[in-house]
């Protein structure tokens, strides 16, 4: 009870002026492009641009693909994060590096790698097509796969960090009280790391929404099938820059709204 009072009455730390200046430049670096985009937006025609069927098709596809990618990332990424955080086995460091590689890899390179793995002539692609009838390149499933590839590492490292920093004594206590491994996982571990889960899922979703390079390389570009918003923005920039600006603004607004909204509600860090 006494703690918050003491903290509130504490004088603000004196910030070195130089530090504040640098921070200001850093913030401006991110703000100015936003302002530029907003200032150049053709507001009068923007409603018209937004209502065009092409835009709605791209937006719908983008939402479908990014949420699907996030769902897949949750299904496979959380177990992966748990494995990295809790188990120690030879080659763990290498395996972990490989799974987070797409974070630093140029997405186009990721797209090429995906083609060589899941393309028609790829390592698994030929088998997928001949025995299961699954074709990934040039399909919506391929776009989702590309987004998952690039975005899942964000979920894995966030959840892994959460698992590593949580107090494992709660799990031990539950175990000694007779809870099964699954019960511990579902009732103790996952609820405890919920903030990391949500943060990881949001980051993953945002990255999937913005994915461009791997998608265009692996899944190609076709309206309604693989042309997500970023691809539509890129092509619109060449033929109709005003439409590109409006599309960018929509993408930006959606991402910003989600990032701000979820941060306050779920992470309680405001």
């Amino acid at each position: 009870m006494a703690l918050p009072v003491r903290r509130a009455s504490r004088p603000r730390p004196a910030a070195p002026v130089a530090l504040l200046l640098l921070a200001g430049v850093g913030a401006a670096f991110f703000l100015i492009p936003l302002v530029g985009l907003v200032l150049r937006t053709p507001w009068a025609s923007s409603w018209q641009q937004l209502r065009s069927p092409d835009v709605l098709t791209a937006l719908r596809l983008s939402l479908l693909a990014s949420f699907s990618a996030t769902a897949i990332a949750l299904v496979f990424g959380v177990p992966l994060a748990w494995t990295f955080a809790r188990l120690s086995f030879p080659g763990r460091a290498v395996l972990r590096a490989v799974t987070v590689l797409p974070m630093v890899l140029p997405p186009v390179v990721g797209g090429v790698a995906l083609l060589l793995a899941f393309g028609r002539r790829g390592l698994l692609g030929g088998w997928l097509a001949s025995s299961l009838g699954i074709h990934l390149p040039f399909t919506t499933a391929g776009a989702i796969l590309a987004e998952t590839f690039v975005a899942m590492p964000f979920l894995v490292i966030t959840v892994e960090a959460g698992l590593r920093s949580m107090d494992t004594r709660f799990e031990d206590a539950a175990r000694t009280l007779g809870a099964s491994r699954w019960t511990v996982l579902w009732r103790v571990t996952l609820p405890l790391v919920r903030p990391s889960l949500v943060a990881g899922a949001v980051l993953c979703w945002a990255r999937a929404l913005g994915e461009f390079g791997a998608t265009i390389t692996f899944a190609g570009n076709f309206p309604g099938r693989t042309q997500t918003m970023p691809l539509a923005v890129y092509l619109a920039l060449e033929s109709n820059p005003d439409a590109a600006i409006v599309l960018s603004l929509v993408l930006l607004a959606v991402s910003l709204a989600v990032l701000i909204g979820l941060r306050d509600r779920w992470l309680g860090s405001s």
Binding site: G119, R121, F138, N221, F222, P223, T226, E238, P241
Partner: protein, 254 residues
């Protein structure tokens, strides 16, 4: 005497390889410095070779090449990318820069190109012409309609009264070739020059003249050029000594 003749012959042989602009390099006022050339993706191989020849002809000069879809390059220039020369794969994209008053002087056609169907080597799907591209089950990739190769392909398909449902609309002609070279697509419509540049992985199926489209390649010096003399020299070189190289890569003269 005999030695002298040999030396003279050798010198003459050397000089013939430096092209007809050789006198420019010996004059003290020959343009030098660096220029940036924005060129359509289909010019990649030819311009890389021409750039090297040009640098040899004009000692002290350097040609920086930036390749991309013509429409993407136009967008970059409109957004303020600094460059000296722009070579487009079609007239409409060049016209955008002319309309925006971003060019110095008027564009000149320096080459023509034709379309060809690109297929895997050996032509496993036995594609003989544009009408075969409409076959169901065949994976065809085309350029996006905003890219020159896309609207030329649409024109050719229209000439042949063929409707194709492409699996993808690629943003650049080179992507179409690579999708076919990688075996991800069965066929695509690209320029003759791209098939030639791709080497052994793919082969071309000719499109008859009646259906084919001739692509005009205009080049222009950009208004914001930082090195006008060298930029002009490059354009002159393209229309002169560079023609031989362009022909070697499958283009036809203006």
């Amino acid at each position: 005497m005999r030695w002298r003749a040999v030396v003279a012959f050798a010198l003459a042989a050397l000089c013939s390889s430096c092209g007809n602009s050789a006198p420019a390099s010996s004059s003290p006022s020959a343009p030098r410095g660096t220029i940036t050339v924005f060129a359509a993706a289909s010019l990649t191989a030819a311009y890389t070779a021409i750039g090297k020849d040009f640098e040899r002809t004009y000692p002290g000069s350097m040609v920086k090449l930036s390749f991309g879809g013509s429409s993407a390059l136009v967008a970059q220039i409109q957004q303020g990318a600094i460059g000296d020369v722009f070579a487009s794969a079609d007239q409409p994209n060049m016209q955008k820069l002319v309309d925006a008053a971003l060019v110095a002087g008027s564009p000149t056609i320096f080459a023509h190109n034709r379309l060809e169907i690109v297929v895997a080597v050996g032509n496993p799907h036995h594609i003989a012409g544009l009408s075969d591209l409409a076959r169901s089950g065949l994976l065809v990739v085309l350029c996006a309609p905003v890219v020159p190769c896309g609207h030329y392909a649409a024109q050719a398909l229209q000439n042949a009264s063929v409707t194709v449902k492409p699996a993808s609309q690629e943003t650049d002609v080179k992507f179409v070739v690579s999708k076919v070279a990688l075996g991800e697509a069965d066929a695509g419509i690209v320029y003759v020059t791209d098939v030639k540049a791709a080497g052994a992985a793919v082969q071309g199926v000719e499109i008859p003249l009646g259906q084919n489209v001739v692509a005009d390649y205009p080049v222009v010096v950009l208004k914001d050029s930082q090195n006008g003399p060298l930029a002009k020299a490059f354009v002159a070189y393209l229309l002169g000594a560079g023609q031989q190289t362009l022909t070697r890569y499958g283009f036809t003269g203006p």
